[in-house]
């Protein structure tokens, strides 16, 4: 037996209130469920990451020497499916959101704790079914499941994979439902809508997309599965159906799904930028409403995925115009974050490095999206590596960086321990360099005509592919470092105070880690969000109120 090096936290908290596997598997505490999600999401991220490495290794040479064509098809499909449906979509909402939404609005729990636990079990069931499909033989349709290939011609496990995604969709719906009801009905006294942290606004908007979009992909996948099994045709042109209808229904969800991934990231970054500049977010209301605007406009642009799919050119014009319009609320956020930095007292802790990285990379991702939203340019760039690079800038450079930043930022609150700051900054830098080296060359590749989903390519593309693979390796290392030191810090990190960053938010006004009921008594909010100046006057609730003395 090792000796217990660090004294146990002086108080009962949600982690040590109960012991044993059963206390975790049957918990209704949103904080514990967040940790369950954290563990399972990390697992799926690892699997998706392995597939990513396989893709990059395969593309090291122009002749596809490592994998057969069929295997390569399966590898990129499964990379997409695992990363999109089992990592990116639940990533921030199900872990950080689950943990923080009640804490930030001063509630004891989410409105429906049992449904919250159910959503985790549904997620796991969906994951297990999908993993089964991958082990049984995998799926090769691309993550988009386009018909009629997926319904008629593919000889892979389309139905089983679809079932896994169908099931996991319900976990997403239940999470969104829980957040909406919680934010509406469970806010602490004094926590008005415009005193809510922007993280909450972002999660509210995300939840809207989850409940409005997810059911559509659910019915679409269900119809697809029936069509494949029973040869009944809604999508198959041979049976009188219309394959473009599938694309309409699929992208009705899957374009807004991009905002399910990135809106919570924007929420995290709003927190990081404001708190590490110690300034209120410039134009708080604009940033808050821009989240809602993104949730609404996000549903109006899906046709930009169909520009070259025989969609009517008139519809193409409408969708192109609306796609440009959706850039406005995103740009509002970027400008307002930048303006927040101006004359702030900025400190460059690890979370802030990730936050700043997010702003830069998201901007590049967003701007290249405008290229793709332009009808004529898209004809040239559609289905090339330009598209791949574009959405990886949004999903990795955006969502993943925000996720890592948020994880570091709230790590003291979640675990009660500090992570090692030096290693944190170092790995943030490595991730940033590795990421850009991976995906910047892909913009060039795509512009030169490298199509996506091919593993044979002309030899003159090899230099750029080698650069990209080298970058992916650096990125992989950069992600491994935090995985190690965060796990290490859970046991050996220095004990975290209640409020290590000296911030006014409600989540910092309870002990670290918080007690099961979050606050000793229901807090009464008398201050605005990000109100840094009069921190001494704030009414600090809970036993660990002395942390304000450190400020």
């Amino acid at each position: 037996m090792e000796e217990f090096k660090v004294p146990p936290p002086s108080k009962i908290n949600y982690l040590n209130a109960e012991y044993g596997l059963k206390s975790w598997l049957l918990t209704r505490d949103h904080k514990r469920i967040a940790l369950l999600y954290l563990g399972s999401i990390s697992f799926f991220f690892m699997i998706g990451g392995i597939y990513a490495m396989l893709i990059r290794l395969e593309l090291l040479t122009p002749h596809g020497q490592l994998l057969t064509s069929t295997t390569y098809n399966k590898v990129f499909t499964q990379h997409g499916i695992i990363m999109v449906f089992f990592f990116l979509i639940p990533s921030i909402p199900a872990t950080l959101g689950n943990f923080l939404v009640p804490l930030m609005i001063g509630a004891k729990d989410l409105a429906f704790p049992r449904i919250n636990l159910l959503s985790w079990y549904i997620y796991m069931l969906g994951g297990i079914v999908t993993i089964y499909a991958l082990l049984a033989g995998g799926v090769d349709t691309g993550w988009t499941f386009y018909v009629p290939f997926s319904t008629t011609f593919s000889n892979s496990y389309v139905v089983a994979t679809g079932l896994g995604i169908f099931i996991s969709g319900f976990s997403s719906i239940l999470t969104g439902l829980n957040f909406i009801v919680t934010i509406h009905t469970m806010r602490a006294p004094g926590m008005t809508w415009f005193r809510m942290p922007l993280f909450i606004w972002a999660h509210y908007a995300t939840s809207l997309i989850m409940i409005l979009g997810t059911p559509v992909i659910a019915i679409t996948i269900l119809l697809l599965a029936f069509e494949r099994l029973a040869h009944v045709g809604i999508f198959d042109p041979a049976l009188g159906g219309d394959p473009i209808l599938f694309q309409h229904l699929f992208w009705f969800y899957s374009h807004p799904a991009v905002y399910i991934m990135v809106l919570p990231g924007m929420g995290v970054v709003s927190e990081l930028i404001a708190n590490f500049s110690r300034k209120n977010v410039f134009g708080y209301k604009f940033v808050a409403f821009s989240s809602l605007a993104i949730a609404i406009f996000g549903f109006l642009v899906w046709g930009h995925h169909l520009f070259v799919a025989s969609q009517s050119v008139y519809a193409g014009m409408i969708f192109s115009f609306l796609s440009f319009a959706v850039a406005i609320p995103s740009a509002v956020k970027v400008f307002n974050w930048s303006a927040t930095l101006y004359k702030g007292s900025i400190s460059y802790e690890t979370p802030m490095l990730y936050g700043l990285g997010f702003i830069g990379l998201f901007t590049i991702g967003g701007m290249t999206g405008l290229f793709l939203a332009a009808l004529a340019v898209d004809v040239h760039l559609s289905d090339t590596y330009f598209v791949i690079a574009h959405f990886h800038y949004i999903m990795v450079g955006g969502t993943l960086l925000a996720y890592l930043g948020g994880l570091h930022y709230w790590w003291p609150k979640i675990t009660g321990r500090m992570y090692p700051e030096g290693w944190g900054r170092f790995s943030a830098l490595v991730v940033f360099i590795g990421f850009n080296l991976t995906f910047l060359p892909q913009f060039v590749l795509g512009y030169m005509g490298m199509p996506r989903r091919y593993h044979y390519y002309p030899e003159e593309f090899q230099v750029l592919h080698v650069l990209s693979t080298a970058g992916a390796s650096i990125l992989g290392v950069g992600l491994l470092i935090p995985a190690i030191y965060l796990l290490w810090s859970m046991r050996y990190g220095p004990i975290a105070p209640a409020n290590p960053w000296h911030l006014p938010g409600l989540e910092w006004r309870t002990q670290s880690p918080p007690p099961t009921e979050n606050f000793e008594q229901t807090p009464v909010v008398t201050w605005e969000a990000y109100e840094f100046a009069p921190i001494d006057e704030m009414e600090v609730v809970g036993r660990y109120g002395e942390s304000k003395a450190e400020v």
Partner: protein
């Protein structure tokens, strides 16, 4: 928030109205109206029936504004889905103008 209890009389009136609506819609379906009128009549009756169920059986009429907004959001997003999908299908056969 105190609860509003709807009286049995109201429930019964709605019930009768729904039955009348059902008979009416089945009856008028046998007439051949010009153009799309058959579908319009059938859908109008269906919408009225649905509205009665929502307003009275589901107590929407006595619910907070929030519930109205929630329900309105569903209709709004449904309209988006239909309108933009048909912006494609209905203009496919148009000739290029430029």
């Amino acid at each position: 928030m105190s609860e509003h209890i709807v009286s049995v009389k109201v429930y019964f009136a709605i019930f009768l109205a729904l039955l009348v609506g059902t008979v009416l819609t089945a009856w008028v379906a046998f007439f051949d109206f010009p153009g799309p009128l058959n579908a319009i009549v059938a859908l109008t009756i269906a919408c009225i029936k649905a509205a009665l169920v929502i307003l009275y059986f589901m107590h929407m009429r006595y619910s907070s504004r929030l519930i109205w907004v929630v329900f309105g959001a569903a209709l709004f997003w449904l309209a988006i889905m239909f309108a933009l999908t048909f912006s494609d299908y209905s203009t496919r056969s148009w000739l290029p103008v430029f």
